[in-house]
């Protein structure tokens, strides 16, 4: 049976060059990067090389990057490290749990919170942010691309408003680093989180960009590694894997985007050709990410039926799967409960071929026909 993995937003397969590099390092490099001797120096050099790769890809300085254990950890370190008890924080209702739950925890310790719901295009209205700013507002945290919808926020405009009000901006960019260009020289983002497994790198490694001048307090105590913000002996091979993966992701970024957009078009045209009833929720979206509703078809059933045909997609985000409730994120962006329950996230990437997306469309056609007649 043909297999097509279309859940690129959940995670990506690790690039084989990245795997090879990591395996080589695992086999031959073991020194503690903090050690003074040659073994330590070798490990330390690998980490610093990766830091330069990240900084080059994102247009920032290498001193502004720390490595973390995941995107979740990066969000935690940024928010817990920056926000003080009496601060007011503006964020959105559709952030990842690693942002929302940290903020709720801070709220129980005295932080004031305002959450903005997405509009029907799946974006955060800039005016909503503006209207909530008060003299106590110290941080705005908005994700660049939403993980369930694939909608892209206008971070440039958001950052300008935030800057004009002298507020710090945190951006969870886990969904889109490596998939769209991000230039931190041009964007006035202060804190930004990313995760390697979303761009064909390894799992268990992320990074946090901390703009020079932003002061984070230590939230994990230890031996002082990573600016004392993420202490603990570094995962050298994973850090190297992240560095190589991000360089590769940005090497041909514009070509990749065009390639994925083309796949998307072929897929949609094929759905039309099959006369499949569908609703594409978001127009302005991350290339390859389709939040797509199939009216009167149960989303979870469709997911299972596709899986049995070798096609992997998701229903709700990966983290909240296992429930048949409609996704709150879809509901918040104005999608009806019935349609939300019929909505899948199909995400394509540069690993796919035209044949792959045509196969997915064909399986959807066959399954929907069967479920409707059943």
């Amino acid at each position: 049976m043909k297999k097509v993995y279309c859940d690129i937003s959940a995670t990506t397969p690790t690039n084989h060059e990245v795997v090879d590099l990591m395996a080589t390092i695992q086999k031959s490099v073991f020194g503690n990067p903090s050690s003074i001797h040659k073994y330590g120096q070798e490990s330390h050099a690998i980490i610093e090389k990766s830091r330069i790769q990240v900084a080059t890809a994102l247009g920032c300085n290498q001193e502004e990057i720390i490595f973390t254990g995941s995107g979740t950890e990066a969000n935690n370190i940024a928010l817990e490290g920056f926000i003080k008890p009496k601060d007011h924080v503006i964020s959105t209702s559709y952030e990842h749990p690693s942002v929302i739950n940290v903020l709720k925890s801070l709220e129980s310790r005295g932080t004031a919170l305002s959450f903005i719901k997405p509009n029907k295009n799946g974006k955060i209205d800039i005016k909503s942010i503006e209207s909530l700013i008060s003299k106590n507002t110290k941080l705005v945290s908005v994700m660049l691309v939403n993980n369930e919808l694939g909608s892209v926020n206008d971070i440039k405009k958001i950052s300008e408003i935030v800057k004009n009000n002298n507020i710090t901006l945190h951006v969870d960019a886990v969904q889109c680093v490596g998939k769209i260009p991000i230039n931190l020289k041009e964007l006035r983002i202060d804190l930004m989180s990313l995760s390697a497994h979303k761009f064909y790198g390894p799992k268990g490694i992320g990074a946090l960009f901390i703009r020079k001048g932003i002061d984070l307090k230590t939230t994990i105590n230890g031996g002082g590694q990573e600016l004392n913000l993420r202490p603990g002996t570094e995962n050298i091979s994973a850090i190297a894997g992240l560095g190589l993966a991000i360089s590769k992701a940005y090497k041909n970024i514009n070509q990749n985007i065009e390639y994925v957009k083309n796949l998307e078009n072929i897929f949609i045209k094929q759905l039309d050709k099959y006369k499949i009833d569908y609703v594409l929720h978001i127009k302005d979206r991350l290339p390859g990410v389709l939040a797509i509703g199939f009216p009167n078809i149960d989303g979870q059933s469709l997911l299972i039926a596709l899986d049995l045909k070798g096609v992997a997609v998701s229903f709700g985000s990966a983290c909240s799967s296992g429930t048949t409730k409609a996704s709150q994120i879809l509901l918040d962006s104005g999608i009806s409960e019935d349609l939300a329950k019929s909505t899948l996230r199909i995400s394509f990437g540069k690993i796919h071929s035209e044949e792959d997306v045509l196969y997915v469309a064909k399986q959807l056609f066959d399954i929907i026909k069967r479920l409707k007649n059943g």
């Binding site: 149960d298 059933s301 039926a305 049995l308 296992g322 429930t323 048949t324 069967r370 479920l371």
Partner: protein, 362 residues
């Protein structure tokens, strides 16, 4: 060898029985898919964290996933919490408030495990379901019979009387002809991690099997109205007080707070008068009962019908007659039976086969 083109959904609890059922389905030559039904979530009141009950625990689901992975079989967890609440748990609590003793597992088998799972066959493009129950389905010409399991100690046919007969032809019970010893042997041969883990006998939605506490949390507003009341003798004289009639079941001896030279048992629960009637052991005996909610596994034209009645899961079966009075059914026992409990199931057997069953009324 079965038709290998046929696909079978195997209901997996994660215990040894359903794991071996999966192995047997594969050995029969079918393509199998493992499914675990998520039926309930218990939350800790203090932390609001989900506490898993024995039969629904993360351990069990992960156990099922591991076994499926080992055998190269897809596994899915299906969420039937809403259905389980409306069809099983609501009925369970209503029955207690009416002074009756329900069998939620039997209702769950028919309405959730069978009906809902068979409704999913389309989704999985599957043909049949299989479970790890110790019971047999025998085919005679074009008719299907539900029969006792070969292992007399483990026979679970009693738990399946309420299943719609039309589902029998879409069901495989691979353990029906096996003993528990056979099952454990296979589990050990396959080195299953759960080879020695037993299927739970507790109610999956009731923490620590404390149904009183469960009712207290599930419908606090109704429990609040349940007041203390009198415990009476068979002649109506008051001999003590009870803490709320939902706290008692027919045949209960312990926890009555009475001192008699001979033990006393709960004979009757009378919700309308808020009374509990007690008696000596002999007082629990009855000759007959009314039967409601009948489900037939065989078409019966002639009444009265002579059969063996099981009035509880592990009972031997008692000779009885089923009488049809204008479509109201009554069971007369040849010898008086102890604690014939309203709300419990009565199952009619002729030899090894289930003819039908119903719910015991007063």
């Amino acid at each position: 060898m079965a038709d290998s083109n046929k696909r079978v959904l195997v209901a997996m609890s994660g215990g040894v029985d359903s794991s071996v059922a999966l192995i047997k389905v594969l050995e029969m030559g079918y393509e199998a898919i493992g499914v675990t039904l998520k039926l309930w979530e218990n939350k800790d009141k203090k932390t609001n964290k989900v506490i898993d009950s024995e039969c629904n625990s993360l351990d069990a689901v992960n156990g099922a996933k591991l076994v499926c992975d080992r055998l190269g079989v897809h596994h899915y967890t299906l969420n039937f919490i809403d259905l389980f609440r409306t069809e099983v748990v609501n009925n369970f609590s209503n029955e207690y408030f009416e002074g009756r003793t329900p069998n939620p597992c039997i209702r769950c088998n028919s309405m959730v495990k069978w009906e809902a799972l068979i409704n999913q066959l389309d989704v999985f493009d599957a043909d049949m379901i299989a479970t790890g129950h110790y019971a047999q389905i025998k085919k005679h010409k074009n008719d299907y019979e539900l029969c006792k399991g070969l292992d007399k100690q483990k026979d679970q046919s009693y738990m399946l009387w309420q299943i719609d007969k039309k589902f029998l032809k879409k069901t495989i019970l691979p353990l029906g002809e096996m003993t528990k010893t056979d099952v454990r042997k296979i589990a050990q041969e396959y080195k299953l991690e759960n080879a020695n883990r037993d299927e739970s006998m507790d109610l999956c939605f009731v923490v620590d099997n404390d149904y009183r506490q469960f009712l207290h949390e599930f419908i606090p507003e109704k429990v609040k109205d349940i007041k203390d009341g009198d415990i009476i003798n068979e002649d109506g004289s008051v001999v003590g007080s009870h803490t709320g009639y939902t706290n008692y079941t027919i045949g209960q001896r312990k926890g009555l707070g009475l001192s008699f030279p001979e033990p006393r048992y709960v004979k009757k629960i009378i919700p309308n008068d808020n009374k509990i009637m007690i008696s000596k052991k002999e007082g629990l005996l009855s000759n007959k009962c009314k039967v409601s909610n009948l489900n037939w596994m065989k078409k019966i034209d002639k009444f009265p019908l002579k059969f063996k009645a099981r009035i509880r899961y592990n009972s031997e079966g008692a000779d009885a007659l089923l009488i049809n009075k204008n479509n109201e059914f009554f069971c007369e026992f040849e010898n008086p039976q102890l604690a014939v409990t309203p709300g419990q199931s009565i199952v009619f057997y002729i030899n090894e086969a289930i003819i039908g069953g119903g719910i015991i009324e007063k």
